[in-house]
């Protein structure tokens, strides 16, 4: 069934400056992170969690997008499927990002101190789940699972570039179908472990879905940013149209709404029932300068992207898409900060150079990964049987 496809794609090297910018950002970030850890260890650890969760969002979210494309048999995203594949290579970096946190677990997690747990009846009850050993096992197993799926799915996809073998698509469909339930469970428990258990007394059944909605949005934003930029500068296959842009924009818009829906549901139910064991989490985020930060979240994460993406032309305008996707990535960081930081600083919002170094490093890592991968691989899955149909996709 193999057949060479007639598509207009010339592989081009990314400009050198990308490597330079990535390296500079990464080095500055790394030095900053080390300095931050030396000045204020636990505050840095909280920032490190935000970075970890941010990178997980994009890496895991992108792999999810890839697998959904396979399972759903979608074609519109096939011409640029390589981009989420590249982005999911972030999963390979996660073990390194986690390492510093493993030394700081006690500073981050209240429940890691046996004497605290013993004195607290509720925490004692949670001990079978919230204990150091099980926590570390979960972290390792989850990351390992993700990397395994990443490895096999991308390997099949890359192999197709040369073999044009359709059975690889079929194999990937099966792998993806297996990955999606694994994804659903692991991302929920990752959210519980790293974000919800920062406040071990609080609980919310929707929390996994909350993190999921934000993650997919962030992954879409990252993919949109890179795809639009690459395509506008002619690195991708010829023939991508406004219809492809529109789809990306529409998904960002849809998931902005989905996030708002989930966030509002969680808030409304807790606000309405007014049970003290739940409301204190929101009250923490309503004290001191956090109140402005919380109100800001509504605008940063919902109102601005909503207004920015609602009209049909705005979803097709490359400039607007790039601005909105950068904004959404920032908004995701903002959201994660809102989830994690109030547990460290109860008095109010903290912001200094420490908070800046971690995003710098994260962006540096992503750029370097992309540059490295783009050297060896095609930016377009030229062997994919759905490629031609994907390019011809019209609304």
């Amino acid at each position: 069934m193999s057949a060479t496809q007639n598509v207009d794609y010339q592989k081009k090297e990314l400009p050198k400056k990308f490597q330079t910018v990535g390296t500079v950002l990464f080095v500055i970030g790394l030095i900053g992170v080390i300095a931050a850890y030396l000045t204020d260890g636990s505050r840095s650890a909280f920032n490190n969690i935000i970075m970890l969760m941010f990178l997980t969002s994009i890496g895991l979210g992108s792999l999810f997008l890839v697998s959904v494309e396979f399972v759903a048999g979608a074609v519109w995203s096939t011409p640029f499927r390589r981009i989420p594949e590249f982005l999911s290579s972030i999963l390979l970096v996660l073990p390194i990002v986690v390492v510093p946190l493993l030394f700081k677990l006690g500073d981050i997690f209240h429940w890691m101190h046996p004497e605290v747990v013993e004195a607290d009846k509720i925490l004692t009850g949670k001990a079978p789940y919230l204990n150091v050993d099980f926590f570390i096992i979960r972290v390792i197993v989850f990351i390992l699972l993700w990397i395994i799926f990443y490895y096999f799915i991308t390997k099949n996809s890359k192999k197709q570039d040369t073999t044009f073998d359709q059975s690889l698509t079929k194999r990937n469909i099966k792998l993806s179908a297996a990955f999606i339930p694994v994804f659903g469970i692991t991302i929920s428990f990752t959210a519980f472990d790293w974000l919800m258990s920062l406040e071990p007394h609080w609980f919310s059944t929707i929390f996994g879905v909350y993190y999921f909605s934000g993650s997919i949005l962030a992954a879409f934003a990252a993919v949109t940013l890179i795809v639009v930029w690459l395509n506008e500068n002619g690195y991708l296959v010829k023939g991508l149209t406004k219809d492809h842009y529109y789809s990306l924009g529409a998904f960002m818009f849809a998931f902005t709404n989905f996030w708002a829906y989930i966030a509002f549901s969680q808030f409304l139910l807790i606000w309405y029932a007014n049970l003290p064991e739940e409301t204190f989490w929101f009250l923490q985020r309503w004290e001191g300068s956090w109140i402005y930060f919380s109100i800001g979240l509504i605008f940063v994460r919902f109102v601005i992207p909503y207004v920015g993406l609602i009209s049909q032309p705005s979803k097709m305008d490359p400039k607007r898409l790039i601005i909105m996707s950068v904004w959404l990535l920032f908004a995701h960081w903002y959201d994660l900060y809102w989830l994690a930081m109030p547990n460290y600083s109860k008095e109010g919002v903290l912001f200094s150079w420490i908070e800046l170094t971690f995003p710098l490093m994260a962006v540096g890592i992503v750029i370097l990964l992309l540059v490295q991968l783009s050297k060896k691989n095609n930016l377009v899955p030229i062997g994919d049987p759905k490629l031609k149909r994907g390019i011809d996709f019209r609304l």
Binding site: F264, L268, W271, Y272, N274, S311, Q312, R394
Partner: protein
């Protein structure tokens, strides 16, 4: 009989590719008043006809936003201004709880408005009298053919040119479509007796049904507004109790919650000596006293205590409250009269609480003082 008036020339095509091609040519030729008719929307046809993008999105946006705002304002006014009531310990204006209704109203108003605007303003439907309706052409394009129709009102219209243009496009069955006679001389039939009769009938029917529902149906079981109930009304006889009374007395030796028994019944002097007004003289107490006095005392004693009853002689006028006797009574005595009654005046202990009676006593003093002010009050 005038000549038939030409509406348009029409041509039929068999495949979608042909019609797209024809539409492109028509727009290139410079026709403005032409239209393409297809059994389903064809991809790329809007581009071929060079149609500007639809503006209906703005209708949805404007109406949707107005709907959301209207819903919010109405809910604010209803639950925080006109009928404020505390529910579940939430503030009168609790925005998060209004979000669901706001959302629903937005969707409802925007959907209805967009569809109505499209059908009635953009398309000017319903219109079954259009020249193209009831033609062979319409029969074909409604099923499996694709047609183009170039209207006579177009500036570039010229029978011979248009015919040649359609032939150049390889159109089949090129035909001219004329206005029907009815379509030209169309008159609204508002004053027709049939139509007026229909209106009258509808009016009679709706008013009859409404009258029956509201005045008859709702008083029949089971719709009878719970008028028939298996319960004892006040004063009704009971078969359950030996004495046959439906209303029961309190069990001997018990008192109701919040009720303080009055121990000076029939002893006005003792009450005057022993009872002291516990309330301070304050604005709120006097306002309470005034309100209760106006409600319960003023019908007989008058608003200023002068004994000028509003009952206009149906009842003997009570004495003025400004008499020397009453002015020198101690507070306890006035309290006693209100609580226990005196002569023809009944007891008000069931209508008024103890505190309210004391407030009335204070207010009575205010009235008395107003007519018999001291020298010092004038300074």
């Amino acid at each position: 009989m005038s000549e038939k008036i030409l509406y348009s020339y029409t041509g039929i095509f068999d495949t979608p590719d042909e019609i797209i091609h024809a539409a492109e040519k028509a727009s290139e030729y410079g026709f403005k008043n032409y239209d393409v008719h297809t059994p389903y929307p064809l991809h790329g046809m809007n581009k071929a006809m060079k149609l500007p993008p639809s503006k209906l999105g703005y209708v949805a946006l404007v109406v949707g936003l107005s709907g959301a705002l209207a819903a919010l304002l109405l809910m604010f006014w209803m639950s925080a201004v006109d009928y404020p009531i505390v529910i579940g310990g939430k503030p009168f204006f609790s925005f998060p709880a209004y979000v669901p209704v706001m959302f629903e109203v937005t969707v409802l108003s925007a959907s209805i408005a967009t569809v109505l605007t499209m059908l009635f303003i953009f398309f000017k439907l319903p219109n079954n009298a259009h020249p193209l309706n009831d033609t062979l052409y319409m029969k074909k394009v409604s099923s499996d053919k694709y047609g183009i129709s170039i209207q006579a009102e177009d500036n570039k219209f010229n029978e011979a040119d248009v015919r040649r243009f359609l032939e150049d496009c390889d159109a089949k069955e090129i035909t001219a479509v004329y206005y029907d006679k009815e379509e030209i001389n169309y008159k609204h039939k508002i004053l027709e007796p049939k139509f007026i009769g229909f209106l009258l009938f509808t009016a009679l029917l709706t008013s009859g049904v409404t009258y029956f529902t509201l005045n008859k149906l709702l008083y029949m079981p089971p719709f009878d507004w719970m008028m028939e109930q298996n319960k004892l009304n006040p004063q009704a006889t009971s078969t359950v109790f030996d004495d046959g009374f439906g209303m029961r007395k309190p069990v001997e030796g018990t008192i109701a919650r919040g009720f303080t028994p009055y121990s000076f019944s029939g002893q006005p002097e003792a009450a005057e000596v022993n009872l002291v007004n516990p309330l301070p003289v304050s604005k709120s107490v006097l306002e309470l006293g005034q309100q209760k006095y106006d409600t319960f005392c003023s019908p007989c004693h008058g608003y200023y205590g002068e004994g000028d009853s509003r009952l206009r002689g149906q009842f003997p006028n009570p004495p003025s409250l400004h008499s020397e006797k009453i002015r020198t009574w101690k507070d306890g005595r006035i309290f006693h009269v209100i609580t226990d009654g005196q002569n023809i005046m009944p007891s008000y202990s069931s209508q008024l609480t103890v505190n309210e009676i004391w407030a009335i006593v204070h207010y009575t003093r205010v009235l008395q003082r107003a007519l018999n002010a001291k020298e010092s009050d004038l300074q």
